[in-house]
């Protein structure tokens, strides 16, 4: 019997070792996997995050754009301006983070940037940790002007500083309220108006005549035409049976290339495009950043493309219509703003950025963005020439709505046909002051008709608001 009792004891010893082994599996091997079992572990993760007061997000003047408030129910994230959701993103225990809230999460939540020893001590003592603050380049006042200008109309406005690449305002409508994300998510994720899409950085539109900026710069730098080239009004241009109307001619039989841009003469640009050829046009667009997503830490951006189907540009009518801004062109408002930024900045595109600094409450800086050139898009003389053409466009051409008393403005309108019976998308890109540009603005409003009336007045509001406080 004693032998049997010993065997029984041995059996239970083995059984208990089995318990210990499996327990070790859960607490050591599978611990991370369990910790991230969402949403079932949401309560525990939330409690973990409650120990950290998430850092604030500030605008360029120190105004708070997003901050965390303590409430009896726990912490809640507050956004000063819901319309900034396409810049800041949102922070939700249920739906996670997006945009700046996501890209700079480790700083905001205090994981990165704090002295590791201090962090360990606070963790051990269960003391509250304060995350670092993120400083953006956004100007909240300008942002509000841009949002007012867009109104309820779907579209986007991008405003940036061409000399530094700082994003001053980035509006995308429709938007949604990040203060109520948990409550509205089921609705907005299904909405036909697609409020989740950031139209400013990731919305892809046909650019219309604003693309003539790329064609003109490429043709001038490639010596296909010169600054003195003139065009003659010969009526419709027929390319392999495809009629291109001599729309928008100035009231003269012969006119210089500058006026072809200012008055947006499609046939003239079709002609230039055919002379350039598909290969050089695509290469020229690549110098502006077409074919790659612009780098913008904190905000996901989309690629702008010259054509979407292979071999499309081998057809002459396709090449001709691409050269004046139709065809299969797909561009983002951000890319068009950067395109004109090259004109305003002597041919160079500064890498855009929206987060300038991360710092803690004591002023210690953990992250600092520095300006750098992203693309050398065109020569300095070509930039100067296109600037003059843009001034003519504003002073005499279709962009007259962008005039500002006492300030010289350069700009280009666009009216992008979308096919069928739908109204075209209205575009405007412009910058001011011409002598020392401090702002570039790109506006697109979906199905708002002509660029001259559908987008230019909105851009003018943004330019005026900025220049009122930033006259050199």
């Amino acid at each position: 019997m004693n032998h049997n009792i010993r065997r029984l004891a041995a059996l239970f010893t083995v059984a208990f070792l089995l318990l210990i082994g499996y327990l070790t599996y859960w607490q050591v091997v599978a611990a991370d996997e369990l910790a991230n079992k969402m949403p079932y572990n949401a309560a525990r993760q939330q409690a973990q995050e409650e120990l950290v007061t998430r850092g604030s997000i500030l605008d360029r003047n120190g105004q708070r754009l997003a901050w965390t408030e303590k409430t009896p129910q726990g912490q809640s994230r507050v956004y000063a301006d819901p319309a900034l959701v396409h810049v800041l993103g949102y922070h939700s225990f249920r739906y996670g983070e997006t945009n700046i809230e996501a890209a700079f999460n480790s700083y905001l939540s205090g994981d990165k940037g704090l002295d590791p020893l201090a962090l360990l001590r606070k963790e051990f003592l269960h003391q509250n940790v304060a995350g670092a603050d993120v400083v953006t380049t956004i100007d909240l006042d300008l942002q509000k002007v841009a949002d007012d200008a867009l109104g309820d109309w779907p579209g986007a406005i991008v405003a940036l500083d061409p000399h530094t690449g700082e994003i001053l305002a980035l509006a995308s409508h429709p938007y949604f309220d990040p203060n109520r994300i948990d409550e509205i998510w089921p609705r907005i994720s299904q909405a036909a108006s697609q409020p989740l899409v950031n139209r400013a950085a990731a919305g892809q539109y046909p650019p219309g005549s604003t693309f003539k900026t790329v064609t003109l710069a490429t043709a001038l730098d490639g010596a296909v035409i010169s600054q003195d080239t003139t065009f003659t009004n010969k009526g419709d241009l027929v390319v392999d049976g495809f009629h291109i109307k001599y729309t928008n001619p100035p009231d003269r039989p012969t006119f210089p290339v500058r006026d072809a841009y200012a008055f947006s003469v499609n046939a003239a640009f079709a002609d230039v495009g055919l002379k350039l050829g598909a290969e050089r046009l695509v290469q020229g667009a690549a110098r502006f950043g077409f074919g790659e997503a612009p780098p913008l830490p904190g905000i996901p951006t989309a690629v702008s493309t010259v054509s979407t189907t292979a071999g499309f540009l081998q057809s002459r009518p396709a090449l001709a219509s691409t050269a004046f801004g139709q065809g299969e062109l797909q561009v983002t408002p951000l890319e068009m703003a950067l395109t004109l930024a090259a004109v305003a900045n002597n041919g160079a595109i500064e890498a855009p950025y929206v987060v300038s600094q991360v710092r803690d409450q004591n002023g210690t800086v953990y992250y600092q963005n520095s300006a750098r050139v992203w693309k050398q898009a065109m020569s300095q003389s070509t930039a100067a020439f296109i600037t003059q053409a843009g001034v003519v466009s504003v002073e005499q051409g279709f962009a007259q709505a962008a005039q500002i008393p006492g300030v010289k403005v350069a700009g280009k309108t666009g009216t992008a046909e979308v096919g069928g019976t739908a109204e075209p998308h209205a575009w405007f890109i412009g910058f001011a002051p011409v002598d020392n540009p401090s702002i570039v603005v790109a506006v697109v409003r979906e199905n708002a008709g002509q660029g001259s009336g559908g987008a230019t007045p909105q851009a003018a509001k943004v330019l005026r608001a900025w220049l009122a406080n930033h006259q050199p």
Binding site: R6, F12, T13, W26, L34, K37
Partner: protein
Amino acid sequence: MSRILTARPTGRFSELYLLMWAGPLAAAGLATLSSVRSGQVQQAALQPAIVLLVVLLGLHFWLSFIGSRADQLLLPVAGGLAALGLVIVGRLDPDSLWKQTAWVGLGVGAAVVLVSALSEPSWLKRYKYTWAVLGVVIAGLTLVLGRDPHGGGASLWVRLGPAMFQPGEILKVLLAVFLAGYLDDKRELLSAASLRVGPLKLPPLPYLAPLAIMWGLTLLLLAVEKDLGLALLLFGLFLAMLYVASSRLVYVWSGLAAFGVGAYVIYRFFYYVQTRVHGWLDPWYDPTGGSYQIVQALLAIGSGRVLGTGLGQGMPTLIPAAVTDFPFAAIAEELGLAGCLAVVALYLILIYRGYRIALAAFDPFQQLLATGLTTVLALQVFVIVGGNIKLIPLTGITLPFISYGGSSLLTNFAIVGILLAISDRSARVET
């Protein structure tokens, strides 16, 4: 070692020294909880620890007073676990802390009574059929009067005056006593010829009959009471004692097979059992429904990692019925793997001492009884800890000395009392 601790004629200094740890253990835990909750250590929060120490010392001095030579490790280990139990109940359900303290006191009182009454433990054997009848009556009462106050699915509680009792807890002690007596009587028949039915060689009738009765009884418990845990525990106890008495593993295997077949049939027909088994096989299939409890328990266990979140710093109350069903998961979250290893080690010491007492016991009846009672403790720990960590399907068994529950504390301290009496009896022979 055992000889040194148990054979000394006078003085129970090892026990006294080790007991001195139990009070401070509870005090430290309760003080931590108090400071986490209110930012300071409130003296009132420490009172249960003082009561515990006084009660345990009371039993110690009683044992010294009557000159007991009983094992000196049992009481400190059970007391240490009870101390941890107070801390965990205070953590998970502060309103029940004083009740738990009172039950520990009553449990120790029961141990005092048993140690004093059983100076000759073989006395129990004479009334073995009385215990069996008592057990059947209690089981029957539970079947008829059983209530389910917590809505957990099993009707195991019987109202007795102001308190709710779980008669199943006492059942396991009564069964161990009866089986020890019965098997001790029939041990002589071990070598008897097997019962032959045609080509089949069956165990002799004295084994076959109780085997069949136990099989039926436990499956009935499973079907009517839906209590997988108690069924597993009672049947496991029966098989273990049968094996120790008969040395015939074949009985164990055939018993397991019969139980398996019966359990499978019940599994097919009872939704409640299916839920538990499905939750065990794949908890992530229905994490917010049928397997919510086990999923929350696993998340708690995982979040504890090696050192735990610290007492009062985790969120074990997210687990439904944590204080009765998942105290181990709560320990795993707040005290971590380190704390769990300490708890499992304490149980291993307790079980090891229990089997030591069985080996050294005065007569075969007491040997069987000590084996049975120790096995009850071991099985409970394995079934509930295994259920908490999803090693086996979840059941409603309590974690001895730690889970909240009066019947459970009373019964487990009674087991300690009987084991103390048996070890005292054997020590008196040695000298």
